[in-house]
Symmetry: C2
């Protein structure tokens, strides 16, 4: 629509290379020509077009993020922080949601191969062939996607361990574990491991509901929890969807928390104000997102990066523990 670099060059009486150099703040440009060119740019209301730049540089300055869904507090926060960090680094953010369909993930990988973005943060629950990632700069949250793909995660084991010990300390004798089991090699599996280790150590019974269900089907797990285990006085919940569903269920059925059942959840809840309903292990999504973007950009630029970055969760006491 607008003017092109050619017109700017003509108007200011220089070559297009010179205009380009002014645009990119190249140091070796005389003040005089810089002024001339800037003047022409202003007069023509010229804005450089990214398509030309991208083609010639073979770089898009776009990073993509793939998440299963975006209308979910955890992913919304993650993406929010990613956008902020990407912006700081001069990258735009392309948002893709798989909607829990692996075909859409394939489609997105194809788009990346086409050069829509220079790299991507991939949050997937599906298996992918490593060759699908070939030539792409990819970073993963929690899941191990391949040898070349760095993982950013939290201290799943340590944080869960502390949470279970906390429940014990608060008097729980029968603690259940409620989670959606990852169907891939994932750091998240360490949560169940920590639960088991601590319970065994304290001679507490294991009461585990940990299944891989599709999103939208988490309610089944709540049913199963109550069907399988008639009595428990504490529960560790892995993930905010399950936590909210369980919280609502207890409310609906008259189970009192923390009196009857105490509850701690990983990503339990994101609070607008200081009211925390659910006691939560909160992942530091701001620093995690920052790390993801840094890793991604380093990978894009061909640097070697650490394969695992681990951050500490923060425990926030809500109303569900004594």
């Amino acid at each position: 629509m607008g003017a092109t670099i050619k017109e700017v060059a003509a108007k200011s009486g220089v070559g297009i290379g010179t205009v380009s150099r002014v645009l990119n703040n190249s140091p070796q440009i005389s003040e005089a020509t810089r002024k001339k060119v800037l003047k022409a740019i202003k007069e023509l209301d010229y804005v450089p077009n990214v398509a030309g730049k991208r083609l010639s540089q073979k770089k898009s300055y776009v990073i993509a993020v793939l998440v299963p869904v975006i209308d979910h507090p955890f992913f919304a926060r993650l993406v929010s922080n990613l956008e902020i960090e990407a912006d700081k680094k001069g990258y735009s953010l392309l948002l893709a949601t798989s909607q829990h369909r692996i075909e859409k993930e394939h489609e997105i990988l194809r788009r990346l191969q086409q050069g829509e973005a220079d790299g991507a943060l991939f949050v997937t629950h599906y298996e992918h062939l490593e060759e699908e990632f070939k030539g792409l700069a990819i970073v993963s949250i929690d899941r191990h996607l391949g040898k070349d793909i760095p993982v950013v995660t939290t201290d799943n084991y340590e944080a869960t361990k502390k949470a279970i010990e906390y429940l014990i300390e608060k008097g729980c004798k029968k603690i259940a574990y409620l989670g959606t089991k990852p169907n891939q090699v994932s750091e998240v599996s360490l949560r169940a491991k920590a639960y088991e280790d601590v319970c065994k150590e304290h001679n507490l019974p294991l009461m585990i509901v940990n299944q891989n269900v599709g999103h939208g089907e988490e309610k089944k797990l709540i049913d199963e929890l109550f069907n399988s285990y008639k009595e428990f006085d504490g529960v560790f919940v892995s993930g905010c969807t399950l936590a909210t569903l369980l919280y609502n269920r207890m409310k609906l059925t008259g189970i009192k928390t923390p009196e009857d059942i105490q509850m701690v959840s990983y990503d339990g809840e994101f609070s607008l104000d200081d009211v925390h309903h659910i006691s939560t292990l909160e992942q530091p999504l701001d620093v995690m997102a920052k790390k993801c973007v840094e890793l991604l950009i380093d990978k894009i630029n061909g640097k070697e990066v650490e394969s695992l970055s681990k951050f500490n969760c923060r425990f926030i006491k809500g109303e569900t523990t004594k």
Copy 2:
């Protein structure tokens, strides 16, 4: 990184134009050459690069969405639906958040001018010069941004009217209005208008807290509501942030709902299951997003489109009304 169209052409012994035609499913290509080309594509593991396509077509097949924030249930749902609809139409979604900073909005508009996207859905609380939108295909939610910018909205007046009448029907005698006043010409203003009209018609007192505060400062309005109006038995809340904050505040201070105060909110709450805490006027974000994308694509293609599209909210009874 990968092969280019030139290599495919060489390998299959045809011109690059022919390869391009095969790629784009051009009809006038003989089966024989199509096969040859497809074979070469497979063998070379060729994926067409978008940068070349974009430059030659002067089209990016990207639409952008600007929202103040994304880690907010309303915007998360909006963006979720937009991504789904854009994907259906073969467009990618660029996500930009202003983080309530007008400079970032300017920055984003500049990126659009640079051709990062073919069009954008703009959800802003700030004034912009019309010239900033010049040459861009833009669609707005609720706010009137300029004569050339279509607005997608809900039946703010009618829905609010019904909600207030509902509260009256349920016995409320003193109904307050709590909202963040838009600082621009916005369809949202019709909510307060409906409230006033209905209250006047029923000879009820007007109790209005409707101020334009920055995000994160909504709690002030809750304070003001209780400071200004000692007694009210019903409240209409415009927006889910305020609704959640008010709901939490009532819980914290021992005010019972619906016994002491009944409450209906626009965008009150998005429920994971069937548990609805807050009675809500829910905006049909799925069809709204679809409309936005359609309008945007029509505008991109130079078509004339309707300037106002209005959709009906759905009332969902929660626990905050009798």
